[in-house]
């Protein structure tokens, strides 16, 4: 099975190096890296790539922060913890095609008297100046698109951090407290350093999800230009233009970016696992 998947990747690579650039083309002769160099000059590709980077930055920071805050609020134990935890985590169980319907409403671009969704909430809180076009705006679309993504993944990050926090023996905290360390210092110098493997894991997981993001954006904005990312562009290139060679090249680029980050990580995990034995 593993051989099969890697074989498929090889096949994708082969297509990406071929002349299969239209539905009618049967010319699968070797084209070198022309499809890749072509992409670099393709403004739509660079547009999608920049969009993806913007999205990734906001999504990573936002999810990390909100997940961390959730876990900080919960980690010492509080009445009703189970209830809060379950609500924060449920978005992971729902398809984005379904949730997109709600988010489209929430991020409706109508403003002022016609405002609905988030814009209406902002107006009601006298924050009307914050109203904006959300995912249809030209400059901020990707930042707006990161909101539902953060919403979906925060609970997951929370769970990872909770597991991290609770894996730290209580004695460490108690000892520091006895030594007169403030709560802030306990977190800063004792707890957070212990969580660095968790931070790394979270970054890798979120990062690779971000690189291949598709459902979420398609579910909310379909193929809209302002929110185009690599996966959406690849989709268009294959379905609308039947340019398999170019689509494969985009797929390979997504894969290479992910591999460049994940493979060193997996080696690191393996090493530390061996060391623990």
């Amino acid at each position: 099975m593993a051989i099969f998947v890697y074989g498929m990747i090889g096949w994708t690579l082969k297509i990406s190096l071929s002349h299969l650039n239209s539905a009618w083309s049967t010319d699968n002769s070797f084209a070198g890296i022309s499809n890749y160099t072509g992409l670099l000059q393709d403004t739509e590709f660079t547009h999608a790539f920049t969009n993806l980077l913007k999205f990734t930055v906001v999504f990573l920071i936002g999810t990390l922060l909100s997940g961390l805050i959730m876990s900080l609020l919960l980690e010492k134990g509080i009445k009703g913890e189970g209830f809060f935890r379950s609500t924060y985590l449920y978005p992971m169980a729902i398809s984005f095609i379904a949730m997109g319907t709600s988010w489209r409403w929430l991020m409706d671009s109508a403003q002022d008297n016609r405002a609905t969704g988030l814009n209406m909430i902002l107006r009601n809180f006298h924050l009307g100046f914050l109203q904006n076009n959300w995912y249809t705006s030209e400059s901020g679309s990707m930042y707006a698109m990161a909101l539902p993504a953060i919403w979906q993944m925060s609970g997951y990050v929370m769970a990872l951090f909770l597991a991290g926090f609770r894996g730290i023996p209580d004695d460490l905290r108690e000892a520091a407290r006895v030594d007169g360390a403030s709560e802030f210092k306990i977190y800063r110098y004792i707890l957070f350093p212990q969580l660095s493997p968790t931070f790394l894991t979270v970054l890798i997981i979120l990062g690779h999800i971000s690189m291949k993001v598709f459902d979420l954006i398609y579910g909310i904005a379909s193929k809209s230009y302002v929110t185009k990312v690599l996966a959406i562009y690849m989709w268009q290139v294959i379905f609308d233009f039947q340019n398999y060679a170019k689509g494969s090249a985009i797929a390979m680029i997504i894969l290479i970016i992910i591999a460049a980050v994940v493979i060193p990580y997996l080696r690191y995990v393996n090493k530390s696992e061996e060391a623990n034995k």
Binding site: M1, A2, V5, I9, W11, T12, M70, L73, L74, K76, G77, I78, K79, G82, F84, R85, T87, Y88, L89, Y90, P91, M92, A93, I94, S95, F96, I97, A98, M99, G100, T101, S102, W105, L106, T116, G117, M120, Y156, A159, G164, G167, P197, T198, T201, K212, F214, D215, G219, S222, A231, I250, A251, M252, L255, I258, A259, V269, N270, S272, E274
Partner: protein
């Protein structure tokens, strides 16, 4: 390892201890924590709240400006017609999701057993290539996969999805089972081997009966991810209505061209989410375990 992680997340600390000495600052922080938790709760619940509230306003009673307002009376008028559209795709989804989950769970348990109890030359490298499988984007194999499906003669049938999800499910299933089996003492297996049992026999008579919770975790995980998958579904079926599954049918209903029937949109989104939500509500603990196993290590 992963079950250990889950208990860490779910076991609340002993909070009675904190109660003893709540001075002014302590009380302030407790109130502050509750207020923050409630604000986060509202944000987390808002999208599903909108879905639920607007699904019971009937077909014509829904307007976007009143999205947050609860209905004056319950009107399930949008449910019937929406269900009629969705029931066939949802049945089809159930069919392929169950098959792919079960098959990948079985393969995963065998693989997991091999990787956890059988150290052979190169097993670490093979296992790492397996793990990387979890991170390979669908996009990287989609195009050849369609060609393979044609070659295998399953193109145009629902088995394209069964096959795709089995392949993609194997890495995570293997990982979950490997971690699960790692907790089974080696002495147990050694003893059986001394008694003359082969690896297959050991697996069948000792390991499998111990694996039930592992299977629950894996099945739930596979069920949820395959049910919610959209990319494979739309790509491998080519969007053909004959092969519509839950997410693609839903996308057809709510897709930008058909935005007029707001009531139907919300109802359809809710109906499609119900199966996974039910699983989450009743088996959330196992769902969490699957999630945490995907993270490799705590």
């Amino acid at each position: 390892m992963s079950s250990d992680l889950v208990s860490r997340v779910t076991e609340s600390k002993d909070i009675s201890r904190n109660k003893k000495k709540l001075d002014g600052a302590g009380q302030f922080w407790l109130v502050f924590r509750y207020i923050s938790l409630v604000i986060l709760f509202v944000i987390a619940a808002l999208p599903i709240y909108i879905m639920v509230v607007n699904s019971v306003k009937g077909i014509t009673g829904v307007s976007q400006s009143a999205a947050f307002i609860p209905p004056s009376h319950l009107d399930f008028g949008a449910w019937g017609p929406t269900w009629n559209v969705l029931k066939v795709p949802m049945g089809r989804t159930l069919f392929f999701v169950l098959q792919s989950s079960i098959i990948s769970a079985i393969i995963g348990s065998i693989n997991g057993f091999v990787f956890s109890k059988w150290r052979f030359k190169g097993s670490t490298i093979i296992f790492t290539t397996f793990l990387f499988g979890m991170f390979i984007p669908y996009q990287a194999i989609m195009i050849p996969l369609t060609q393979f499906n044609q070659w295998a003669g399953i193109s145009g049938t629902i088995y394209v999805l069964v096959f795709a999800h089995v392949i993609y499910g194997i890495p995570i299933c293997t990982l979950i089972f490997r971690n699960y089996y790692a907790a089974i003492p080696n002495e147990l297996i050694e003893a059986a081997r001394v008694d003359g049992a082969g690896m297959t026999r050991i697996f069948r008579t000792i390991i499998l009966p111990l694996s039930i919770p592992g299977f629950v975790v894996v099945l739930i995980w596979q069920f949820t991810s395959a049910w919610n998958d959209f990319l494979f579904a739309i790509f491998l079926t080519g969007g053909s209505p004959k092969l519509a599954v839950a997410t693609t049918a839903l996308n057809f209903i709510t897709g930008s061209g058909n935005q007029v029937y707001y009531g139907n949109n919300m109802t359809a989104s809710l109906i499609v989410s119900i199966p996974t939500l039910l699983v989450y509500m009743f088996l959330g603990r196992y769902f969490l375990r699957g999630l945490l196993s995907g993270s490799l290590k705590g």
